[in-house]
Subunit: 355 residues, 2 copies
């Protein structure tokens, strides 16, 4: 069972850095009901890897990635809001991306996909609202990559949303984050199975994707969390001399996380989305592009650190946006929004319930 819906994008869909897509679409899911005045939409952009299935619904009761955040009576309350989660343009869960068929050739785009920018993902969300007959979202919201997209949306479509929530986002990648993402991409690019992007769907560059995802997982969490959770615990098993097989629980955890990712995500899509994050650089915002904003950063986030979160809030303030900044005292690192639900629910719920 799928709750996935699709919206066609304008054809052609001109890309921010050149080129255009023909017959492009985005995949999305919704929760709740659009009010007759069409003024209760909350549009959510996702992080790098998840699909639009953020929470269960009647059409698809399977668990999502933000189950405890979106739903009746939850912080993003589907009894009040018409909640839309959109799969990023360039991703591989229904929206058009490098793994999609290019109608001009009948083959997958692969590296012929045009350069992808965060601004393109933002515009695809804007066009989705228009396709749904919504001229103004109540709130645009995004964690991580989704936070970058929400900021790009505000910059590019001033007035198209009343409020903005950026969760552990970024207004411009730091060289530390660029270094990590560059290394993740290199692991894929140097995997012989990558084949210059021309791998068969059933023979992906698994080693490169595995290394990339493990490095991601290391930077999404925090040293403090893992100290509490794993310490120096060993996994069972005998390792003869000269064997370098996993020995500590943390290594088994990384392997499990990576295996899930390799089975689900397309390598070329990963490369495009990853580089779009490196290249994003917000710049100043138009005056009052949104009315109110909430910016959340996590104290233990090494990838999108707190000073960058403060910079986002300052940029919004300078544009005349009434901005709340919240430094979340969580040990869970960049991924805290997926884990530390009570804290995030309180702050996001309060903001959405206020004017």
């Amino acid at each position: 069972m799928s709750a996935r819906q699709y919206a066609a994008l304008p054809d052609p869909f001109g890309m921010h850095r050149g080129g255009a897509l023909r017959g492009a679409r985005v995949a999305f899911e919704t929760w709740g009901t659009l009010a007759p005045a069409k003024d209760n939409a909350v549009l959510i952009f996702t992080g790098l890897s998840p699909p639009a299935h953020a929470a269960p619904s009647l059409a698809d009761p399977s668990p999502g990635w933000w189950d405890t955040m979106i739903g009746p009576g939850l912080a993003i309350d589907s009894e009040r809001w018409f909640v839309i989660v959109v799969n990023s343009l360039g991703s591989c869960f229904g929206s058009t991306g490098p793994a999609s068929i290019d109608p001009a050739t009948g083959e997958r785009y692969r590296l012929d996909f045009p350069e992808l920018a965060i601004e393109d993902i933002a515009r695809s969300g804007y066009e989705l609202l228009r396709a749904l007959g919504i001229s103004r979202a109540d709130t645009i919201l995004g964690p991580s990559l989704g936070g970058m997209v929400a900021l790009a949306f505000a910059a590019q479509h001033p007035g198209a949303a009343r409020r903005l929530v950026s969760v552990s986002g970024s207004a411009g990648a730091t060289p530390f984050a660029i270094a990590l993402r560059s290394l993740q991409r290199e692991a894929i690019l140097r995997d012989p199975a990558w084949q210059n992007g021309n791998y068969a769907p059933d023979a992906p560059p698994g080693t490169g994707l595995r290394l990339a995802r493990k490095l991601g997982t290391i930077t999404y969490r925090s040293a403090g969390e893992w100290q509490q959770r794993f310490g120096r615990s060993r996994v069972a098993g005998v390792r003869p001399p000269g064997s370098f097989s996993p020995e500590f629980e943390i290594e088994g955890y990384l392997e499990a996380q990576a295996a899930k990712f390799v089975a689900a995500f397309d390598a070329n899509c990963y490369l495009y989305l990853s580089r779009a994050m490196d290249r994003f650089d917000l710049g100043p915002l138009a005056q009052a592009c949104v009315e109110r904003a909430l910016v959340i950063g996590v104290e233990s986030d090494i990838l999108f650190p707190l000073d960058g979160q403060r910079a986002i809030a300052a940029t919004l303030e300078r544009a005349g946006v009434a901005t709340r900044f919240h430094a979340m005292p969580s040990i869970e690192g960049h991924d805290a929004f997926l884990v530390d639900i009570p804290r995030f629910s309180a702050v996001i719920g309060d903001f959405l319930r206020a004017d």
Copy 2:
């Protein structure tokens, strides 16, 4: 010109976790003169990758890795101290390691090298002192891996050194550090050129070593330093759509660092040393194993963080060692001891000049 000297280890040299080496040796270099009372030796263990050539000397005037720290009138003053730097057992710059010839077979050890422990590197330093006729070092000192070795030396050979300096060391790897090293090893192990350890010397697993070193470099420095130094500066060059070649200065920096390492270091030695760091777990120290200690940690070090440095100092205090703890306010991260020389010189020089 080489200043490298060799000392034979006891034959056989029994290893801490089983097995033994035959005909093993360590490579070392020295600066200054051993006093007639043989009471002025400062024995330095290195980090993961450097050779014993830490500074220029008459026999080898080429630059070393701690040029501005070791020499006449410098913090580690070769006019007062007989300074010995030893290449770690298991490394590939003259000391016996996996890339050395096994006398039993006439072939390189490769993965037949016995399990390597930090305690083995410590004991090889102790045996070097004995070979030089030194019954007690004035000071044992080590940064990073070398700090772990110095602690293992104190635990294993109580009384064999009067003082100890641990610079950004560790008494036991955190799961965060284990995760990073496990990923570095996996990059090598999954490189098809690794050949289960049986690569030809002129065809090493360069991709794996390159990825491992880049990840190392990312974790040895700090986000703050790179923000100041590189920001979002671009490198010159045109990148056609679909190309993922390096674009930001930080990417060029990582590549340059990695290229030097791939040309110099042996992959199997890297695997053995890396895992030895994961497995090290100091435990309590014997009472008064040394008289005095200096423990230095760096505030921006994400790999061997400050709370771990405090734990080292506490362990030494509990063993009755008069311990100074210094939290270095440097932006340079784990590698600060290689870069932020004025600050380190002041603290280490003061300690060595005191009683």
